[in-house]
């Protein structure tokens, strides 16, 4: 079932808009964003390929089970807890950002905390479902939303207000050396494979991943679009003044036929759907990581009854998100996201390389026996 893997890849790279990735890249547009993107494409693809190798070496096993094979519980439990937190924070940043967006664009009268609580409730419900259900949610979410998003992207490229000269001007700065901030932002697009840290449990033993070249292709296309199209619309200078740069970009477009005129509404609703799907999924992954720390943890991919621990953990995650957003303002959110992205780069490199070494060991063992 190759397609499920590519669903995960696509949804993460599409969600980059909510992780402030375009904003961070655009801040460095004269000072190394392009070279960072090139470097990110290279390293991100390599990481993804290494991880697919790990998946193949341990069919039907998630990362917690792989660690449990090699290390005692007191080593794995804190590690898994840490990884779970990493996943959890990303989804919370997305959800928090969206609550602000809804408050800005759709319901200015409703406070963003109330909206965030509602979003969290929906995502808690989604996250408590079984692993199998979660992968179906990704599938349905993408199939329903991506055609329309592609249509918006297509319209944006065909728009007469798109200034290709501005984009070319920025593209000339590719010689500047890459920067850590923009590298961390760009490489996030390539990390869709990380969902398979848990979803690998679903793969049947004879699973073979094909069409791997799709990973760099899809991700690079989305990366280039999300960086250059706003520059084309707002010009090389003004583009840096927006935090949620893509919402403003979508608002620069109009549709001439049909009921709706302003593209931003469709764009927001589609991304609301995608964010909900992403958050439910990532919280589910985080929840599974936390569950693997519990004593007597046993991974179940599709239990008939939802275990109570699911509800407890997911509710704590949801509550934590709401409380954090109450305490932090928007600037702190942005700083949190930036720092998270940089920390994530380190964690990604270390954990994927470590898993790769383990999987080489496993491959060797298999051949010897």
């Amino acid at each position: 079932m190759n397609r499920y893997f590519y669903y995960c890849v696509t949804i993460v790279s599409m969600l980059n808009l909510m992780m402030f990735v375009p904003y961070l890249l655009i801040q460095d547009r004269y000072t190394g964003a392009i070279s960072s993107m090139l470097l990110a494409a290279l390293i991100g693809t390599t990481m993804a390929f290494l991880f697919t190798f790990v998946m193949k070496a341990f069919p039907g096993k998630g990362v917690p089970e792989i660690f449990a094979m090699y290390f005692p519980k007191w080593v794995t439990a804190p590690l898994m807890f840490f990884l779970g937190c990493m996943y959890f924070i990303s989804a919370s940043i997305v959800l928090n950002g969206f609550a602000v967006l809804i408050n800005r664009f759709l319901n200015p009268d409703t406070s963003s905390i109330v909206v965030l609580s509602l979003l969290s409730l929906a995502c808690v419900y989604g996250a408590t479902r079984s692993t199998l259900t979660n992968i179906f949610i990704v599938e349905m979410g993408l199939i329903l939303n991506v055609p329309l998003i592609l249509m918006i992207l297509f319209k944006s490229y065909r728009n007469s207000n798109l200034d290709w000269d501005a984009m070319l001007t920025i593209a000339q700065y590719w010689r500047n050396p890459p920067k850590l901030n923009s590298y961390a932002a760009a490489v996030y697009l390539f990390t869709g494979y990380s969902g398979y840290a848990i979803f690998n449990r679903l793969n049947p033993p004879n699973f073979r991943l094909r069409y791997r070249w799709l990973i760099p292709l899809v991700c690079c296309f989305i990366m280039v679009t999300s960086f250059f199209v706003p520059i084309g619309f707002h010009g090389t200078e003004a583009v840096a003044s927006y935090l949620y740069v893509w919402s403003v970009t979508a608002d620069s477009m109009t549709m001439e036929y049909g009921f709706l005129e302003r593209v931003v509404f469709i764009f927001l609703l589609l991304y609301l759907n995608l964010s909900l799907v992403y958050t439910a999924n990532v919280w589910h992954i985080a929840m599974e990581f936390f569950k693997s720390c519990l004593p007597k943890a046993k991974p179940q991919i599709d239990p008939e009854r939802t275990p109570l621990s699911n509800w407890v953990i997911a509710c704590i995650l949801g509550l934590f998100t709401v409380v954090t957003s109450y305490l932090l303002d928007e600037k702190q959110d942005l700083r949190l996201a930036t720092n998270w992205l940089i920390l994530r780069v380190c964690v990604e490199v270390i954990s994927v390389l470590f898993l790769f070494v383990l999987s080489i060991g496993a491959g060797g063992k298999k051949q010897s026996t």
């Binding site: 759709l106 319901n107 509602l118 419900y125 989604g126 259900t133 179906f136 329903l144 609703l269």
Partner: protein, 442 residues
């Protein structure tokens, strides 16, 4: 025997018991007259017994229509199913003489098609099996019989194709059938509720009257339940797609049926979301639509003195009452109700300024789109789905509607019909390449 039976039954006039005597022996017979075909009783018992061409105890032993019944505890149940009990020389035999009152040659009424078989299943399971077997002449077709309902003791037949059925699903169905502890089961809907459809928002079993749908499902490895006294069969496990595909899709023009399939999905989406979207757009985000459309909506709402959700509630209340009334009324008055309700009342309500004309359009689109769904029990389930969304729209506007839809999708993805995923595309995978999530089962 007769005395014992008499003590088992409450006083009932139609319980008939006779002691017969001819030259050789005496026999005792007992049956419930109202349940039995009296001519059968005389053909199989009275005539051969009195003619004495052959000793009666030999006839009983040789002819397979007489089956021995040793357990006295089963006497009452057997009598109540329309059997005749015969005592010959100390041993007891039973003879099936049941007379079942049923509709003759029924036509499809609920799930109609233009071209295609017009005959429906019968209310008698034996006739239904006749209809199914003649369309599905395969030695692999297995039938199991059991009874459900502690009082009604309704006969249930379990049909499946032995070659293609999924054994996990089969054992799950058997287990759930055994667990049913309800006194009365008279309709297939009750059975499907008792099998686990009670609180689910969407049905996980198809209830159908069409033998061709039954046969197609059997061929796909699904399980069919037939209930004595009901002309509807239950098919399981099913997916969401099955509910939206009509039987015509398999034999009408290919491209048109594909288009109709897309149309049905759009209709389902419309009937669920449209009233909620109306509330959200009119009350929260009128800027969503292009200006001309916003003006015309606002203009048509100019005379309406209350917020949009009251308008929606009034109109939906009316349309639901109308649909309910046209089901309850006798057929001949039914059309009057729809004319009065739909045409006259709608027009008048709009002119009186109680509701806007756009709302009338919304209401009729909701009602019409709802009728597009081919399977009735799904149509009923979808009818309810719009109300939670309206509540979300009242409190959170268009974002609330989107979140509500997301929750529906999660719910659908989480639903399992007898352990099978309910809501996914391309669910048919070639068996050699493993499906996702097959690790746990294998």
């Amino acid at each position: 025997m007769l005395k014992r039976i008499e003590s088992l039954f409450a006083e009932s006039r139609d319980l008939t018991m006779h002691q017969l005597q001819n030259d050789e022996m005496s026999i005792e017979i007992a049956y419930i007259e109202s349940l039995c075909d009296v001519s059968k009783v005389s053909d199989f018992i009275l005539v051969p017994f009195t003619k004495q061409q052959q000793p009666f105890d030999e006839i009983v032993k040789v002819n397979p229509v007489y089956k021995p019944l040793d357990d006295p505890a089963k006497w009452t149940d057997t009598l109540l199913l329309g059997f005749v009990l015969i005592q010959v020389k100390g041993s007891i035999y039973k003879l099936d003489a049941a007379r079942v009152i049923r509709n003759e040659n029924p036509q499809t009424m609920v799930e109609t098609v233009i071209m295609g078989p017009q005959i429906a299943l019968s209310e008698d399971v034996i006739d239904s099996i006749n209809i199914i077997r003649s369309r599905y002449p395969s030695p692999e077709l297995a039938t199991e019989e059991r009874t459900v309902g502690t009082t009604s003791k309704t006969r249930v037949l379990l049909l499946y194709d032995k070659r293609s059925v999924d054994s996990n699903v089969l054992s799950m169905v058997r287990k759930r059938l055994e667990r049913i502890m309800i006194p009365m089961i008279t309709a297939t809907g009750q059975l499907s509720r008792a099998l686990g459809d009670r609180y689910t928002l969407f049905p996980t079993m198809i209830v159908t009257e069409r033998p061709d749908r039954v046969c197609n499902s059997l061929q796909e490895g699904k399980i069919v339940l037939l209930l004595q006294g009901s002309m509807f069969a239950i098919i399981m496990p099913v997916t969401f797609y099955d509910f939206l595909s009509a039987v015509d899709d398999q034999f009408d023009s290919y491209w048109m049926t594909r288009t109709l399939l897309v149309l049905r999905y759009i209709a389902v989406l419309l009937t669920i979301t449209l009233p909620a979207l109306y509330v959200a757009i009119v009350s929260y985000n009128p800027e969503l639509f292009r200006v001309q459309l916003t003006y015309s909506i606002a203009g048509s709402r100019a005379g309406v003195p209350y917020p949009s959700f009251i308008e929606v509630i009034i109109m939906l209340l009316m349309i639901e009452a109308l649909v309910e009334a046209s089901v309850r009324l006798p057929k001949y008055i039914g059309s009057t109700a729809t004319t009065v309700g739909g045409l006259i009342l709608g027009q008048a309500a709009q002119q009186a300024g109680l509701v806007s004309s756009i709302m009338i359009i919304v209401t009729s689109v909701v009602a019409i789109s709802n009728f597009v769904i081919p399977i009735n029990n799904m149509s009923m389930a979808i009818r309810f789905m719009k109300y939670p969304l309206i509540i979300m729209a009242i409190f959170f506007g268009i974002a609330g509607v989107t979140i509500g839809l997301f929750i529906y999708f999660v719910y659908l993805a989480d639903l399992r019909s007898f352990g099978k995923p309910y809501f996914r595309i391309f669910s048919k995978t070639p068996s050699q390449s493993g499906d996702i999530g097959q690790v746990g089962q294998g």
